[in-house]
Amino acid sequence: MSATATALDSLANLPILTPADSAAEPALLGQLRHFHLGDPRVPLSAPEEDYLPAFLAASRDNAQLRSDYPLYLHPPGSDGPLFEPLAGLLRQSLQALAPGEFQAQILKKNLPRLEQMLGHLLERAVTPLPAGELLLQAGETLQDELELSKARRDRLQSDLDKLFAAVPPTGRLLSYGRHATLHLLLHAIRCRRLPRYQAFAAEIQRLLQQLHSLLALERRKSTAGQTPESLTASLGATGSCFLDASALSELLGQPRGSRPLTPERLARIQRIVPILEAARRGPPRLATVIHTDAIPAPWLHGEPDCLTLADADPCGRASAEFTRQADELATLFRAVRIARLEVASQYQPEQHDPWFATFGWEAFTPEELDLLPPVVVVAFADPLAGDQLSAFSRLLRAGQPVQILLEVRPGANHGAAPGTDPLASYRLELGYFAISHRQALVQQSSPARPAHLLEGLLAALDSHATGLHLLTTGVFQDQVPAWLAAWSALESRAHPLFRFDPQAGSHWAERLSFAGNPQANADWSRFEFRYQDWQGNEQAMVLAFTFADFALLEPPLRDHFRVIPNSVEAPVLIPLAEYLVESLAQIANRLPFVWAVDGNGFLHRLLVSRTLVLACRDRQDYWRTLQELAGLPRTAAAVAAVTTPAMATPVADQQAQWQAEQQAALEQMRQTVLAELSQRLQEVLGQLPAIAPLPELPVAAAAPVAAPVAVAAVAPAAVPGERLAPPAAVAVTAEPWVDTPRCTSCNVCIELNPRLFVYNDNAQAMIGDPHAGTYAQLVKAARSCPARCIHPGKPLNPQEPDLDILVQRAAAYN
């Protein structure tokens, strides 16, 4: 999302910086230093509630702010993205409808107003609402407010109607709220899974139909199905007029090769049919949502396709609930799998019985897992990081495809003892903690970035891994809209966006995605800040948005700031971002501050306590760790340069040397193997007699017994259009042989002597035992063979009678 806070253009609205007219008194400097070092009792005022980080000053006028919300959720089944910002959708649709500059002018001019009205209509909505109705309502309100003349009113109405027609009315509008993530997740499940449920239902239907056909056929095979009465019923009134059912019954009684199903198979089919029948009833459940009662979500109970459960230990319950549902579905999937095998006649009891006896969710295919309604845990981070930490950890290790939506507060330290300062100890990074479980998909995101969030949700749904989604929705307070607070958490590195997908690769950099973070290569995101000086001149400076800036939005952390009087000038004061990168020696006498704007639009410096500075360093360290793990090039180079500047080059040199050595070794091995092979070849060849040219035979050319095919195979390829040379004549050999590939399997020779001639795997004839028959049979077979592929050779038995005549006859076939 492009959470853009458009700074006000008019100079009058820029924050004002009052000039310093004196150097700071040593006493004041002392007080500042004491506060910074940890004395909260100094007589300096903490910032009021209306103080905001400088950059967020523009947020006071909400009209200037644009967020992606409301989101338009496309109806399930539609192609393309699952959602898109309504503002963009309306703008694009309007542009497509009225591309000309002077077309639909009134509507174009009032489109922001229409969006604003929709925003108002959705303000109190806790669930997504149908778009069609709301759009019509907003259109009517717009008409009423504009009070146009009739002609212009009609024109506007016509444009509105066209615009609304371009937006499918079954889509829904989602406003930003506490449960925006859950709505997005349910929407994603609806869009992704419903088609699969439908395809599965269709498959069950098909299988049932086939099983019923099998059973019906079985009934007809049974004696009961062949009685004259049942045959009359089958034939119907008309059929019975033409056929004699009793005669038919008698005929059918005689077995004609149709075999009945085995009793085991019949029982198996009868067992699975009711399971499949039961699965057809009722719409599928979309998801099971488990939450602690701490989350007020009464709307959830109204969702017809969600099972909602409240439990003090949501992680344990989720695991148990998943197991229960998976066991239920295992029965169905087992039945479906058996049905598939039965329909294909492939069920083999010795093979499949033991397999199905231990069939559980661990053996589900990804497609089957997609049919399991996702179990979703909705919880706050505090209890999970506290006494439920072990249950939470167990769930992350269980490998069950459970989705955990965890609301975290970037300014808090989850799991710290109640009532303690959140900055008093290092922060428990739940994301990092979860990554240590290695196999869970962990993403840190926010509904303020719906595209990033949805991508992670879909990745988790599709990967079938346990999904942990750490979300910050922002604090719902008057000063700053919640989405902007969440946006600030992302900008200030308090809540960096990341996604750890264990299935994405084998390296950290592949598994950890850092996409979506603003200025991801830098420590802090920086932006240009414009203000006006006391004389009314516009000025600009570059500010970093640090964790301390974000901390100003967190009421419990306000006490870590003190307002520095604007009238004093002191060189010891330096911006926090600079303070954080200076060496310890350089900051020894310095005091860090951040810029803030008060409710009246005046710019102030706020002194930052040392505790908060340490918290900033802590966040910075965590940020750098993530950068490094995500493989950001700048960070890797920077780390290498900082930590081992002298080592970098030698390491590279050494690597190159190793590679060269390895190459040389490989080459040497290759040479050795080649030499050895060559030597062996020579030895083998040396044992063979010298290859001499073949002696000229009295008959045309030479060919051994198995040669005809080979001779034909090496014959020159046919040149289309040219007359081909006839196949070379073959030599007369003593052994009889059959030109097997030409055999037409006509059975002549086999019938003559099935031992002399046998069929090969292709049912083509070859010589079986040449001594199993007479030469006379061979010659007769050769003469009878329609394919002329039998060659009798020379008589093997010189004692056979009438050899002279036979040899004479055989000559034509040799």
């Binding site: 098909r206 397999w355 661990e362 490998g399 034909a712 046919a718 007359r723 037409t744 059975n747 329609p786």
Partner: protein, 317 residues
């Protein structure tokens, strides 16, 4: 944990079919009959494609050739004289998943079944018609068939057949929506196999005429072709029937013919001497009727009743 239980359910050794699995009753054609070779070629194709025998149907009419379904160990339908094609079309219309072979003879297909032949070609349903053309009525003992050569002496024409023979290739190529026409000879198993395989692979109605020796009555007719392969003209093309060089060598007379060119195919078919062998025409993009006739398959009885009600509602007063 997902994947903890390994799935061995699909490790069932898949049935491997051998020629014996496609063998039905003992073939009682005369020894030396060309029908044996056609039967074996079809069995080899089924085996090489590893099609479960229960997914194959052989349909036939009447004649020597029409004993075919008895000898193929699959489902079969031995129909009435000339009526193999309508039965096959009916099977394909409701069971498009089955592979349908139709065995017919020159008398069965070109004479009494000629009307069905024309329409089956036009309907272009995905099946393979193999016409065992021995130029004679063999089963009924030597009567003139539509493809008997002029002058062939038979029991019905003891002084020789009067009329010039029918040219089935030209007729088939003249039918609208024709999509596959090929010709082969039974005495070249490699070419016959390659031709039937191409026909089997073709999506649509494949018409294959096999010149088939009848050792009893027309051995002499084909003897000349066998002795002098130059009387056959092999059609070669990269889109045609692909056979090995060893087979090409057996056909000294070859010519290049593009099977995508219908007009050229008609010219080739019109010349009967030398006899064209190979693929004359193929167009896999012709509309197939079973795509229409198989609509609604898999619907449950409730769906069908609902659809019927919807249709009947049109006529409600």
């Amino acid at each position: 944990m997902l994947g903890l239980k390994a799935d061995w359910s699909d490790e069932t050794p898949h049935r491997y079919f051998t020629l014996e699995d496609y063998a039905g009753g003992e073939a009682r054609w005369c020894p030396g009959c060309g029908d044996h070779g056609i039967l074996k070629a079809v069995q080899r194709i089924c085996r090489d494609e590893q099609i479960p025998p229960e997914n194959v149907v052989a349909v036939s009419g009447i004649g020597c050739s029409s004993r075919f379904p008895h000898y193929l160990g699959t489902y079969g339908f031995h129909g009435l004289h000339g009526r193999a094609l309508p039965v096959a079309c009916g099977i394909k219309a409701r069971r498009p998943d089955l592979h349908v072979w139709i065995a017919s003879g020159d008398g069965d297909c070109f004479s009494i079944g000629a009307g069905h032949w024309l329409h089956a070609v036009r309907y272009n349903m995905d099946m393979t018609l193999v016409v065992f053309d021995n130029n004679i009525y063999g089963l009924t003992k030597n009567q003139t068939s539509p493809t008997s050569r002029q002058g062939l002496k038979t029991n019905t024409h003891p002084r020789g057949s009067w009329l010039p023979p029918h040219n089935p290739l030209s007729v088939t190529l003249g039918i609208a929506n024709v999509s596959f026409v090929a010709q082969s000879v039974d005495w070249n198993p490699a070419h016959l196999y390659a031709t039937l395989r191409a026909a089997f692979d073709h999506k649509g109605f494949s018409f294959v005429r096999v010149l088939q020796r009848c050792p009893a009555y027309t051995a002499q007719v084909f003897d000349a072709l066998q002795r002098d392969p130059g009387k056959l003209r092999l059609l070669t093309h990269e889109d045609g029937i692909q056979v090995e060089d060893s087979v090409l060598c057996l056909f000294p007379n070859a010519c290049r013919h593009d099977p995508g060119d219908l007009n050229a195919a008609r010219d080739v078919a019109a010349i009967e001497d030398p006899v064209p062998i190979g693929l004359l025409f193929r167009d896999p993009d012709r509309p197939r009727y079973e795509t229409l006739s198989s609509e609604g398959l898999g619907r449950s009885s409730e769906d069908k009743l609902q659809a019927l009600d919807a249709v009947l509602d049109h006529f409600a007063i």
